[in-house]
């Protein structure tokens, strides 16, 4: 079960939920083997774009391409072997243990009548290990803290053993300590096994620090794309977030750091 590298692109895609399109005629190229962060204000369509890329939404125009093939034409389980997604609000069934929940990530690798195999055991074990949740394996989800819970969900997504891992606001509800811990973990995953990571992030400074590639969106349109230190300027932030600010180098990582200028601090 060697993981291959796969390429995810979108050509002229629009996505919506029945009404007006939320994402409008955009081209996207996800850099293979890198960490990409999608940023933008609330309601700009960043989660919609992410959900569309993993075909939770059908495009109203254009198409999403996985290795140059339209993703709509592929079988659902085949897509699920290549792209994993951690949604914004997954539901943990009552009473389920960590190991069992992580095991459900093996679904696309199992057939209708195939029993649980040692390969599944190995995948679960590795997912627990890299997310540092092995000690929690026999606990129930209800017993865990928010940070632990989020690591367990990531473990489930990793057990799926996909080349691409997409995460929809994985740091929401986490305090700053656990946000940093989680982003460190995602970068480890990217460096350790060349997984392509795509995440929607709220915190622009953390996005600049952790992402190799930034996609900035506003009102359903990509307004800036590239390496953070190349594209993040005061003008871009003002345009995207309608916020006056200064951009200075982060004293630790040297990546761009946004210092907002509120009405009281100009």
């Amino acid at each position: 079960m060697t993981r291959e590298t796969h390429q995810l692109q979108a050509r002229d895609v629009s996505f919506g939920y029945g009404g007006a399109d939320i994402v409008k005629h955009q081209d996207v190229d996800i850099p293979t083997g890198r960490v990409t962060a999608i940023v933008g204000p609330n309601g700009c369509g960043k989660s919609t774009l992410l959900r569309g890329l993993v075909r939770l939404l059908k495009p109203t125009s254009g198409e999403v391409l996985l290795d140059d093939e339209s993703i709509q034409g592929l079988r659902s389980v085949d897509v699920a072997k290549v792209i994993g997604l951690l949604p914004q609000n997954p539901v943990a069934p009552d009473g389920i243990t960590v190991a069992d929940l992580v095991g459900r990530g093996r679904y696309p690798h199992q057939g209708w009548f195939r029993q649980w195999t040692s390969e599944d055991d190995l995948a679960v074990e590795q997912a627990l290990r890299v997310t540092n949740t092995t000690d929690l394996a026999d606990r129930t989800i209800a017993e865990l803290s928010g940070g632990q819970r989020q690591r367990v969900w990531i473990a489930m997504t990793l057990a799926q053993n996909t080349d691409l891992v997409l995460l929809d606001e994985p740091t929401t509800f986490l305090d700053i300590h656990h946000q940093v811990e989680l982003l460190d973990l995602l970068v480890d995953l990217n460096r350790g096994s060349a997984r392509t990571i795509v995440m929607v992030l709220h915190d622009l400074n953390l996005a600049c620090r952790y992402a190799d590639h930034l996609i900035a969106m506003k009102e359903g349109v990509i307004v800036g794309e590239g390496a953070p230190d190349e594209i993040v300027t005061a003008e871009l932030v003002t345009k995207v977030f309608e916020l006056e600010c200064q951009v200075v180098p982060d004293p630790v990582s040297r990546t761009p750091m946004i210092v907002p200028l509120g009405r009281h601090h100009r």
């Binding site: 075909r55 539901v91 009552d94």
Partner: protein, 348 residues
Amino acid sequence: MTLTETIETTSPFTGRRERRRRETAVTVVLLALTATLFIATMMIGSYWLKPWEVVASLLGIADDPSVDFIVRDLRLPLAASGLAVGLALGTAGIVFQKLLANPLASPDFVGISQGAGVAAVLSIILLHLGAVAVSFAALGGALVAGALIYALAWRGGITGYRFILIGIGVSEFCVALTGYVLARAELFDAREAMTWLVGSIGQTGALQLRILLGALIVLLPTAVVLGRWLSVLELGDDAASALGVRVEVARVSLLAVAIVLVALATAAAGPVSFVALISGPIAIRIVRTGGPVLLPSALIGASLVLGADLIGSHLLPVTLPTGVITGAVGAPYLIWLLATVNREGRGG
């Protein structure tokens, strides 16, 4: 990089194997309980039989015409009906609850049983139909109610919340209509209709029983196999589709199986209340691993119906129909559920 290279030693946690062992053990114990109650139903009566007499007669290894008459002709239909109705309700209940992510979302609360009820009452009171025709009317009523709820709840997909609310609406409409028809009925017809509405495995006809058993042979294994979808669907729609499940196909198939099971069970015995509501949660609490509970839930349903019939027929000073006993057990549970479910935040 392969997984087998990165991991040299084998699993440090044995939890999975222990949990599977527990799930198997629970299923075996429930199977034994169901079998015991099934045989007990055929032992007890105005003429008591020994368990081996029942088993020997069922298997055709003893040749005692009077025992054969009591077991096969008098008591087997009742026991088989209790078993089949319980299995069907137990399965359908847990499928609804898991699929709609709500312990209150059992088919007897979201209008399926009430659809059967209004059709049965109309056919008894207005059309004066016989027992077989009444149960076909009930079957039709349940299927129409199920299809109606599904169609009304559909907005490019189904959410559990909307399905439940519309189901409650359909349920209330059916109950109101049933009440109106009953109020206008002749006393004799009204009594007959009320007897049907209470639900009892004693009223199952031979034909209805055969149809229900035939359906169970196909649908019970189908439900267990489709249960694989349930275990992923309960993580939420987004997670399920990201794992490769075609969510709508899975949901329609599972709901269809459950609706047909409830419809046939209700057609056979009337709306035996609360069995579908309580079987699943009991199964979840007994199994306790968060693993698959379809089969345990089906067996608990069967045990509840058979047990309720034994109590109603033999343990009380007056003979009571199955539905009264299950109601007496189920109602306190419902109150407890209503009092606690929203505290856990998943009551919708």
